[in-house]
């Protein structure tokens, strides 16, 4: 039964440098599901996401991916996570296109899917810019674009909406809905209210 969950967490506890960050968390994530993690500043949202991805070792409790004790950041056959953190992994000295192409190759992304994402974000006009020219919001948009064509089933996003204007926030919600409808799963930490159907809210304190 447990095997059916993509992610399953039981009594998850994390300490860092001797401080307790969060304790006894229980949740699970399945296909076509999305979890929004909320909580005050410093409540441990980012830490939780990094635990799930395997960057932080958990102090106690159980954290399973597909019923197994996998840490995606250690090793996986294919990308398990499409990750959007605080850092954008964009090289300013390359053009936008070069930045995208690299990940396209690493992930062996279909040309069709790639073009589709490009269209959703209407990013064509930026393609030949050096990435260092982009404004904060444009960089975030580029990150979201990359996130959206990654072949991973689970999207993990840490405050995806920062720097974005109205229009781009709508695009964000659109791609989230699309991904969930297509059977994907999403965990997203944020302080905003997102208008997504069937979202589970999980609040840290």
């Amino acid at each position: 039964m447990m095997n059916k969950h993509i992610i399953y967490a039981e009594d998850l506890t994390l300490e860092r440098s001797g401080r307790n960050i969060f304790s006894a968390l229980n949740f699970s994530l399945d296909s076509s599901e999305s979890i929004i993690i909320t909580g005050k500043n410093g409540s441990g949202k980012t830490s939780l996401l990094r635990c799930i991805a395997g960057f932080y070792p958990i102090t106690s409790g159980k954290l399973l991916w597909y019923g197994e004790q996998i840490l995606p950041a250690y090793y996986s056959e294919k990308p398990l996570i499409s990750w959007l953190g605080y850092f954008d992994a964009i090289k300013g000295s390359l053009t936008v296109k070069e930045n995208l192409n690299f990940f396209r190759e690493i992930w062996s992304v279909d040309k069709k899917i790639f073009m589709e994402s490009l269209e959703i974000f209407s990013f064509d006009k930026f393609l030949d810019y050096p990435a260092s020219w982009l404004s904060a919001g444009e960089k975030r948009r580029l990150s979201l674009l990359r996130l959206s064509f990654c072949p991973a089933k689970v999207w993990i996003m840490d405050e995806p909406s920062i720097y974005l204007d109205k229009e781009n926030r709508n695009i964000l919600i659109k791609i989230i809905k699309k991904h969930v409808n297509a059977g994907g799963a999403i965990i997203c930490a944020t302080h905003e209210k997102f208008d997504i159907p069937n979202v589970k809210e999980y609040s840290l304190s």
Binding site: S17, G18, R19, N20, P57
Partner: protein, 244 residues
Amino acid sequence: MSNIFNFLANPSRFRIFAKSAYPYLLMIMIIFIIMGLWYGLFNSPPDYQQGETVRIMYVHVPAAWMALMVYSSMTIMSLFSLVWRHPLADTLSKSSAPIGAVFTLIALVTGSIWGKPTWGTWWVWDARLTSVFILFLIYMGHIALVRAFEDEFKGARAAAILTLFGAFNLPIIKFSVDWWNTLHQPASVIKLDGPSIHVDMMIPLILMAVGFLFFYFAFLLINVQTELNQRKLKKLFIKNLNLN
């Protein structure tokens, strides 16, 4: 054996053990060193080539052995730390480094003093001397690295990585005298076909070596105690921060 290890692996239990054990270790160390010094200074023959200066050997050689020994044990503890993430291994390794550095320094200084009359120079850059010097630098790097981190666990693990990496220096030190032409004399005590020095020199050497070994044990326990106490203090400090 594994029972003992498991028993001691608990930090608080280890603290109790350390507290009660270290005075005995200190005592054993003092007895052996006094005996060794007495034997070495008054009860052993001068060397037919080197004369009285040979007595430096009773400090130099055990110190050099201990420099290697401490590093070897740190290497093992580092493996424990990296592979099994054992917190006690971190603590032991961290506490060992300064002691090892002291032994290395003693070996370097006594070797230098010995070198002046026998080789006619304080220092040459040959393979043995250089590799011991590198060992000293690695000890210092270890000490600096642990303290460069806010988070002591991270610091300990970083230092463990460095220790493992520096371990390839150990065989270089040990075998440098066999592999390269050096001024330094090759092994005469620890070798496959048995020791080749006079028994009267052997006895004080062994006494001093045992004394130094217990020096290591005693100070290791003392350092670990301070370390664990500090950690406790820090935890209290952090708890206080959280209460506010």
